[in-house]
Amino acid sequence: MIFDQNTKEKEILKMCRCCFMCRHACPVFLATKMDADTPRGHALLISRIDEGLSKWTADVVDKIYRCSQCGLCRELCEFHWEEDTLIQSVREILVKLSLQPYKVKDIAYSLIEHGTVYNESKTNPGLKRKTTDQISSDVLYFADDVALCKQPEIIENTKKILNFLMLNWVMLEKEGSTGIELFELGYPDEAKIAAGNLVERIKKIGPKVIITGSPHAYKAFKKLYPQWGIDGLSNIEIYHIVEYLDKKIKDGELKLTQNSNHSMISYHDPCHLGRGMGVYDAPRNLIKTVTGEPPVELIHNKNEAECCGAGSVMYLTNPDISNKVAQNRVASALQEKAEIVVTACPNCKMVLMNAATKMGCNLRIIDIVELISSHLDDNINLKFNKK
């Protein structure tokens, strides 16, 4: 038996193991069309092991790590059974049994040792940014792993915006892991240690505000850390950058130029920002501010948006499946005749870009800071900031 009687997981197994009702929406199922990749499939396979009818095999373990934990199944379920929580619990058990795939072990090792999923301690050497672990500052900008290692343009554009707002901002010299990836891969204890270390370094800076462009970091700081009993950030205002900029516009502290002669823009909701944190309006408001029109909605959007394939580090654990999931999302944008897909997550941008390249389509994928930074209204803002 894997789970004790009367546990939440036991109930989820019972509810989900024979139910087909969310299969049509599961992004991984839509990529592979395999029943073993669905919430029902996972519950069925786990349930048989839980009841002693079969044993863990590499094949089943592989399927457990082919879930992006995007939470769409839970969202669309009439009773919101937490299949993603079930997967989380099972991964923790697999890690304890040391049955997790080697790739997962490697990524976890890299996160623990180097603070990055990329098994390297270096950051982009060409990147010029203000970094410190010593100087106190009002605003801490937290870029997160994928932006640091793979998407320097997100950092450059964010920097431009923060400077434009004349904020006294800094970045950590070396950010390290927020813990969320470790948590998702089944390493809750290591995740909490990483989180605790990060919080201690942030506290030394003493910021009043943390701004991040990473929904993963945003969810970790604002939702997971309190759940994990890590309260070092409780007196700090934490914003995803879309929320921060939307607020600044509403407060009259940021003016952006508007260009109605723009390409057809759609917006992809990152899972952790949307379903994870309920942030749907702010990015749409920003797009409308600079283009004069709301983005063209993808067929499944906001709380029903499909994962881009980057969830749960799938771009490294299962790159082929991750790419197929992303290709489906790109196809969805092409169906709306979108020319640009804006997102608000470096991980989403990375996998969607890879998918668009593989599909050989002309769709541009950009982060929202890239869009905003090209609409900063120097005249108006300088005037405002000088007041």
Binding site: F20, H24, A36, L44, K63, E78
Partner: protein
């Protein structure tokens, strides 16, 4: 023996990979296990007893085009390898289970919506598209297929065609057989049959009908031309609590015979009604619940609603208004989610969809009900039913039996299940009912085929099967063949 088996499997899988490519030939035991369970109580029961001795396929293939299927069928026919077509896999009769081994052909990667014709209102699709995705596509263009079964999210068009599926709007829009203009099928010898592009022709029999409801025993569907409709301008509902079953059936008959075209008419027996009144209306009362709905152009809907209201009002019933009917419509799939759906429980259960002309339908109901409740009283067998597909000649009963205390002994449980089905279906057939299982006949009900058709008539079906599929490779064991 084991070695020979493994070697044989390896050679078959290698051939399959040549046809479909490495990625689309799956032998993962995890996927095979997941595909062993449909919604049939027996498969769920076995899966959580022990499924070690359940037969399983050598492999599952995911074709992407009909060219692959042509090569595949030729290979399987030559080598006499069973072929089991699969759509959503959510039937309740084992129709897509590989009980005789062989290869499962999962059609879900053939999921393209090929062409919409906005003049003739048709859509051409591949068989693996899920109904939900097709409906989304149509809705965004102002159309609908008007096919809303319980498995709307889970099933594919190919699956619906193969079971002649029925949705909740069938009283107006019909079963799948009424929704299909043209079919393309790859036959067991690898040849392609394409029916004529219109459904109402006099160019000989409409041979596409041979493949509708055939559960893949004659070939694999590769393309379907479906009828579509404009999204309705207006939708209305009436709901009443009627005194008894007899009055309700008569009201339904009058509505259908009057030339009115309700898209939806659902009439529930007393057991189902008490549940509906308690949960939806938060009220107590005795009787039978009737809900009628109309859709289409505003003027047509209004006049039909008014006329139906007049017919229903002639019975001494209590009007319940349309508010809760709208709640039902907007949440029409909610009862299929656990814990509301029985699939999460170990209870023994089955639906036994039966259809009959109006002169027989009430007798069929009482015969089935008394069989379940009296013959299997010692097991606490429950029976409830509703009438949800109405025609201008008869209607169908959708009865469910339920036993919560399943015998612990495996063979006793299976025997009890078979006995209930035998007794209940025999009682229905004896009273003029026809087995009408639109989730598939499959393995669960195959043994009743000969009884339903009669020995001589069933012989013709067997001859057709032998002529089209002499090696009996296509979904063997299903439909009683």
């Amino acid at each position: 023996m084991q070695k020979i088996g493994e070697k044989y499997k390896e050679s078959v899988v290698n051939e399959l990979k040549k046809i479909f490519g490495e990625e689309d030939v799956v032998t993962d035991q995890s996927e095979i296990d997941c595909q062993k369970v449909d919604v049939w109580w027996f498969t769920r029961y076995r899966m959580f007893q022990s499924c070690k001795d359940l037969p399983q396929p050598l492999a599952i293939v995911f074709p992407r085009n009909k060219g692959q299927l042509v090569s595949f069928m030729k290979y399987c026919n030559t080598n006499k390898i069973p072929v089991v077509p699969r759509g959503g896999g959510a039937g309740d009769c084992g129709g897509s289970l590989a009980f005789e081994g062989g290869i499962v052909v999962d059609t879900k990667k053939m999921d393209k919506i090929l062409k919409i014709n906005e003049k003739s209102l048709t859509v051409r699709v591949q068989p693996g598209v899920l109904q939900k995705h097709l409906e989304e596509y149509l809705n965004r263009r102002g159309y609908t297929m008007n096919h809303f079964p319980a498995s709307f999210y889970t099933s594919t068009i190919g699956g619906f065609v193969s079971t002649n599926g029925t949705g909740i709007l069938s009283s107006k829009y019909g079963k799948l057989i009424d929704m299909v203009h043209q079919l393309e099928v790859v036959l067991p010898d690898g040849k392609i049959f394409k029916s004529l592009p219109v459904s109402r022709h006099s160019t000989g029999p409409d041979f596409s009908k041979l493949f509708i409801g055939a559960e893949g025993i004659f070939g694999i569907i590769t393309e379907v031309l479906c009828k579509i409709y404009y999204l309705p301008e207006k939708r209305t509902f009436l709901s009443f609590l009627l005194p008894n079953l007899k009055d309700g059936i008569e009201v339904g008959r009058k509505i259908m015979m009057s030339g009115l075209l309700p898209c939806i008419m659902r009439f529930y027996d007393e057991q189902d009604t008490s549940h509906i009144l308690k949960n939806q209306y938060k009220m107590k009362g005795k009787g039978c619940f009737l809900m009628v709905g109309f859709d289409g152009l505003k003027e047509v809907v209004d006049i039909q609603t008014e006329l139906a209201y007049k017919i229903i009002s002639e019975t001494k019933g209590k009007e319940l208004g349309d508010k809760q009917a709208w709640v039902w419509w907007n949440n029409r799939l909610k009862s299929y989610y656990p814990p509301l759906d029985y699939v999460c429980e170990p209870w023994m259960t089955a639906v036994m969809d039966t259809i009959a002309p109006y002169e027989d339908i009430e007798n069929v109901y009482w015969a089935m009900k008394s069989t379940v409740e009296n013959k299997f009283k010692e097991y606490g067998a429950l029976f409830h039913a509703h009438f949800s597909h109405w025609y201008d000649w008869g209607t169908s009963i959708y009865p469910t039996f339920l036993i919560k205390n399943v015998p612990k002994d495996y063979s006793k449980a299976i025997k009890l299940y078979e006995n209930i089905l035998d007794a209940c279906i025999n009682a229905a057939v004896k009273n003029g009912g026809v087995v009408n299982e639109h989730h598939a006949i499959g393995l669960r009900l195959g043994r009743f085929m000969e009884e339903c058709y009669g020995k001589e008539s069933f012989e013709l079906i067997k001859k057709i099967k032998r002529a089209l599929d002499p090696n009996n490779i296509m979904n063997p064991g299903k439909l009683g063949l």
